[in-house]
Structure formats: structure tokens, C-alpha cells
């Protein structure tokens, strides 16, 4: 069981405003469902991951994008992006 406060805390962290009261139940149900992972008996399992060779990484070369990308995005005062107040 996950408390309302916990869900609200996480929602805030994710910059999500909850205005649909069914969210609480939906999230709680899902979290409850995740509990079956406890019985999978995987504690000793190693995490696997894909690998890449160093030599297959991108070569360090400057290639400009070639178009004025900022003109296709939101811009303000010339070529800045405007953000809300940080106070």
C-alpha cells in the first residue's frame, strides 16, 4: 500500500500535477502488482548489459548541424530560449 502523500511527493518530483483522483488507486494497484517481483528469487542474479568497443565510438570531429536549428525552436530576444523565473 502506497500512501497518498508518497504518490503526491513522487508526482511533484516528476512535475506532474494530479487532478484525477483515480490516479492514486491506479498507481497503488500497479505498485501492488510489482510486489510479485519479490517472489522471483533473483537476488543473486547479475545485471547483464550490452557492450561496445571503444574503437566503435564516434570520432572526435566537429560537424556543424548545418541549419539554424534555433529558428525551428522556441526563441526569444534573438536566439535565446526563454525559461520561467527561477525564484
Amino acid at each position: 500500500m502506497v500512501s497518498r502523500e508518497e504518490i503526491e511527493h513522487v508526482a511533484k518530483l516528476m512535475r506532474i500535477e494530479i487532478d484525477d483522483p483515480t490516479i492514486y488507486e491506479g498507481v497503488d494497484k500497479m505498485i501492488g502488482y510489482f510486489d510479485i517481483l519479490d517472489s522471483a528469487g533473483v537476488e543473486s542474479e547479475e545485471i547483464s548489459a550490452r557492450e561496445i568497443e571503444l574503437s566503435n565510438l564516434r570520432e572526435d570531429k566537429h560537424i556543424p548541424f548545418g541549419e539554424k536549428l534555433i529558428e525551428k525552436l522556441n526563441h526569444y530576444k534573438g536566439t535565446y530560449v526563454r525559461a520561467p523565473k527561477m525564484v
Binding site: 511527493h9 511533484k12 518530483l13 512535475r15 545485471i47 548489459a49 550490452r50 557492450e51 561496445i52 568497443e53 571503444l54 574503437s55 565510438l57 564516434r58 570520432e59 572526435d60 570531429k61 566537429h62 560537424i63 556543424p64 548541424f65 539554424k68 536549428l69 534555433i70 525552436l73 526563441h75 526569444y76 530576444k77 534573438g78 536566439t79 535565446y80 530560449v81 526563454r82 525559461a83 520561467p84 523565473k85 527561477m86 525564484v87
Partner: protein, 467 residues
């Protein structure tokens, strides 16, 4: 006891491109948001393309700081919302699944003191925020993403420093080391930044952020120690917190964390597979690493007989030691080192002057050779350098333009000395009892020779004549 730890951020300024895209690593030359692409702007569907050289250079830094280097490195996402972060997460490194960041524990010696390095991680720099408006009320926040995605190496130390002086010494050594490795130019604005954490008497740790320069870092640490000591003296508890350095008031200020929930939800960045850095690669990187500062110094002393102090100054500055390497011969090495450390370093003491300088290694070699062959005096070197820095003209041209050659032969010089002795009888008499006065006579000789006489030689001759 005071304990200070550091988190140093150093941009890999010598790379051509950003950490995950082909935009330029040196963002400083662009108009706002002109050095961006779908990747560093985190546009939907874009993926990071890890820069091979960034991994190599970061590994070299780890090796130079005597850190362990893992077999495989991984990247993690650090999730938080901020306008300078186009994806609202930062790709960085962490050691939650074993040691997988570019560098593990290491050591850097500061004199006789051992500073332990906790780890080294490779990560992306965010963009830059510019605030306009005179008050909070009319604040306008502007963001320039040219810097976003610039390769950054974070070096974390253990809290091994006991005072601000040790911090400064460490940072000097570290920035020389990074410059010598050819990975970073610490003189570039914003290329090196650091946060500090400070605690006294095993008390709570206080982090200080937002420190603009190393100079301010020393001040901030000093302020913070004093602040904590005065609290401690009055039995006021020191709170574990993050404080910001207020550059204008030169104090640290508690950053009332509105971010009550700093949970970064780190997890693996699976768009970048684990990068294998095997022993073969490590050996290759090691062999490509430039000679260390201490090895250079040792070589300068033992091979060329350069005085230890001169060798120290010369070896720790990459710009000048590179110049030395290119201009010296076995014969003139000592002379070249001398010219660099006594004359050139004073003339070229800023980044701007370095960039505008027209002096080449060949110039330097020819000046040293001219001194050694007796074509010009040591004294004239500074004038020649000054002219060449501005004009880039050939050494021979400058020497004849300034009429610095035709150094007087011994017999010619003796004639002039004799004439000075006969003109300055009073001074000569004084000089016999007061050695200071003899310098006046040397000056007179230099005047008559238009500075072309060698002052040391003149002094010798004068002494012989008078006594």
C-alpha cells in the same frame, strides 16, 4: 580539525566536438544557441553518440592521477528538472554497479602531502542561464545551450585538505597536470570550476557551490571555516547543508533548498552500451601520454644542468615547456630556459598575449644562439623579444633594426672603460671602498656602448682596472 574535500569540474577543452554530438566543444566563439543540434538539444528521438576521444582523454586523466581504471565503463542518468538541462537529465557516471566510472581511487601528491582521489567521472556540461531584470519580480530567464553537452571530467577528492592553502596548491598542480596532458586549457574562462565541502571538528559537512574561480574557491573555503569556527565557539550547531558562494558579498549563503526532494533516480543510460577498455587499450593510452611535469623537470636539471628552480617553473607550464622543447638544442638549452623564465614569462603573462604573440620556436632558438655566439648581449634579449612578439620579424632583422649587434671587442671595450675611468675620477675613488659605486660606472659604460656591452663582462673588466 578542519577537513576540506573538493569536486573539480574540468572541461576537456582540447577536444573538437561535444561529448555526445558533433557540435563544437569550444562553445565560446558562438552567438547564443548557434552551436546546437538535435542531440545536444535533447530533441525527441535523438540519441547520444559517445565521443571516443573523450573516453580516452578522461582515462588518461585517471591514469595521471594514479587512479584505478575499470575494464568497462558505464553511464547513468541523473534525473532532475532545470532549464539548462535540455533532456531534464544529465548523462554522467556512478559506481552503483561496481566500479564503472572512468577512474577509481587514486592519489595526487601536493609536496609531501597525499591527497586521495575518490573517483573520476565523465559527464556532460549543462547550458548557461542568463538572468535579466533588476529584481526577482521582473526577472527574465534566458538560456543558451551552446555549452550543453560539452565534455566534462569531474574529479572528486577525499576530505584530505586541512586549510585553504593546501587547496590552492592542489588546484595549481592539478591544472598544470591537466594542461600538460593536453586535455584542458585551464586559462579558458569557465574551463575549470570546483565545489568544496568543509567540516570542522568532525562536525557536519557543508557543501559550497557556485564558486566561479579558483581564486574565489580559496576565499569561500576560508570564509566557511571561519563561519563554522565562530559557530562552534558559541556552541551553535553546524547544520549539514548546501551553501552558495555569493560573489558580490564574498560570503557563503545557505541555499534554502526549495528542492526538498533531491532524488536523482539514477539508473543506467542504456542508449550507451558499456564501453570495454581492455589492457591493450590502456597500454596504448599510457604510451600516448605526454611526459609528466616531474619527469620533464628532472630531465631539464640532469641533462641540461638547468637550475632546479628554473626547471620547476619551466616544466609546470605547458605553453612554455612546449616552446622550450621545440627551440632548444643541447648547446643552448640553458640559455633558452633562461630567456623564457627571466624575460618571456614577464612579457607574455596573459592568455591574450599568448594568443597574439608572433614569437616562434625558431625565433627563440636564434636569440639564444645569438647570445651564445656573442652576437648580442644577454641584456638585449628582452628588447629583441619585445619587438618580435609584436611584429614577428626575423631575429637578424630585429637585431640590425635595433642596432644591437657589433658587440664591442675586448680592446674596444677596454678603451671605453679607460675613458670612463678618466672622466669619473671621484666615482672611481669611491668604488675602491664602496662596491656599490661600481655599478654606477658599469652604467656609464653601458651608456657609451648603447647597451651593447655585456654588463657582467664590463663589471669584471672594471674591477680589474680599478684594483
Amino acid at each position: 580539525m578542519t577537513k576540506i574535500g573538493l569536486e573539480i569540474h574540468s572541461q576537456l577543452t582540447e577536444l573538437q566536438s561535444k561529448l555526445f554530438c558533433s557540435c563544437k566543444a569550444n562553445y565560446r566563439e558562438f552567438q547564443p544557441n548557434e552551436n546546437i543540434c538535435p542531440i545536444c538539444m535533447g530533441l525527441p528521438g535523438s540519441l547520444p553518440q559517445l565521443n571516443q576521444k573523450a573516453v580516452e582523454k578522461a582515462t588518461m586523466i585517471a591514469m595521471a592521477l594514479n587512479c584505478s581504471t575499470p575494464e568497462k565503463i558505464t553511464f547513468f542518468r541523473k534525473n532532475y528538472f532545470y532549464p539548462d538541462l535540455p533532456k531534464n537529465f544529465q548523462i554522467t557516471q556512478l559506481n552503483i554497479y561496481g566500479e564503472t566510472s572512468v577512474g577509481g581511487p587514486g592519489i595526487l601528491m601536493v609536496g609531501d602531502k597525499k591527497i586521495r582521489i575518490t573517483r573520476i567521472q565523465l559527464e556532460e556540461d549543462p547550458g548557461r542561464i542568463i538572468y535579466e531584470g533588476s529584481s526577482e519580480k521582473n526577472q527574465i530567464t534566458l538560456v543558451d545551450y551552446n555549452r550543453a553537452g560539452t565534455p566534462l571530467v569531474e574529479i572528486v577528492t577525499e576530505p584530505d585538505f586541512e586549510n585553504p592553502k593546501e587547496v590552492r596548491e592542489f588546484l595549481n598542480i592539478l591544472s598544470d597536470l591537466l594542461a600538460n596532458l593536453g586535455v584542458s586549457d585551464p586559462s579558458l574562462e569557465g574551463a575549470m570550476r570546483a565545489d568544496a565541502n568543509v567540516s570542522i571538528e568532525d562536525g557536519n559537512k557543508v557543501e559550497i557551490k557556485n564558486i566561479g574561480s579558483f581564486h574565489d574557491l580559496e576565499k569561500a573555503v576560508h570564509f566557511e571555516i571561519t563561519r563554522q569556527q565562530s559557530l562552534h565557539a558559541r556552541n551553535i550547531p553546524i547544520i549539514q547543508e548546501t551553501r552558495h558562494w555569493d560573489d558580490k558579498r564574498k560570503i557563503t549563503v545557505s541555499s534554502r533548498s526549495k528542492e526538498e526532494d533531491l532524488d536523482y533516480r539514477y539508473f543506467l543510460e542504456s542508449d550507451i552500451p558499456w564501453v570495454r577498455i581492455g589492457n591493450q587499450i590502456k597500454d596504448k593510452l599510457k604510451s600516448e601520454m605526454p611526459e609528466t611535469i616531474s619527469s620533464k623537470k628532472e630531465r631539464y636539471v640532469s641533462k641540461y644542468n638547468i637550475p632546479a628552480q628554473v626547471a620547476d617553473v619551466l616544466s609546470s607550464d605547458k605553453f612554455y615547456s612546449d616552446l622550450f622543447e621545440k627551440s632548444h638544442t643541447t648547446e643552448n638549452a640553458k640559455e633558452v630556459a633562461n630567456i623564457i623564465t627571466t624575460d618571456l614569462m614577464g612579457l607574455v603573462d596573459t592568455r591574450e598575449k599568448r594568443e597574439s604573440s608572433k614569437l616562434t620556436a625558431l625565433h627563440l632558438k636564434e636569440i639564444a644562439d645569438s647570445i651564445q655566439s656573442g652576437k648580442i648581449t644577454r641584456n638585449s634579449a628582452k628588447n629583441v623579444l619585445y619587438e618580435i612578439l609584436k611584429t614577428g620579424k626575423a631575429v637578424s632583422t630585429v637585431i640590425s633594426d635595433l642596432d644591437l649587434d657589433n658587440v664591442f671587442s675586448e680592446s674596444e671595450l677596454l678603451k671605453i672603460i679607460e675613458s670612463v675611468i678618466s672622466e669619473e675620477t671621484q666615482a672611481v675613488e669611491q668604488a675602491k671602498t664602496n662596491p656599490q659605486t661600481i655599478n654606477y660606472l658599469v652604467g656609464k659604460v653601458m651608456q657609451k656602448t648603447k647597451g651593447k656591452a655585456d654588463p657582467t663582462y664590463t663589471l669584471d673588466l672594471l674591477k680589474k682596472k680599478i684594483n
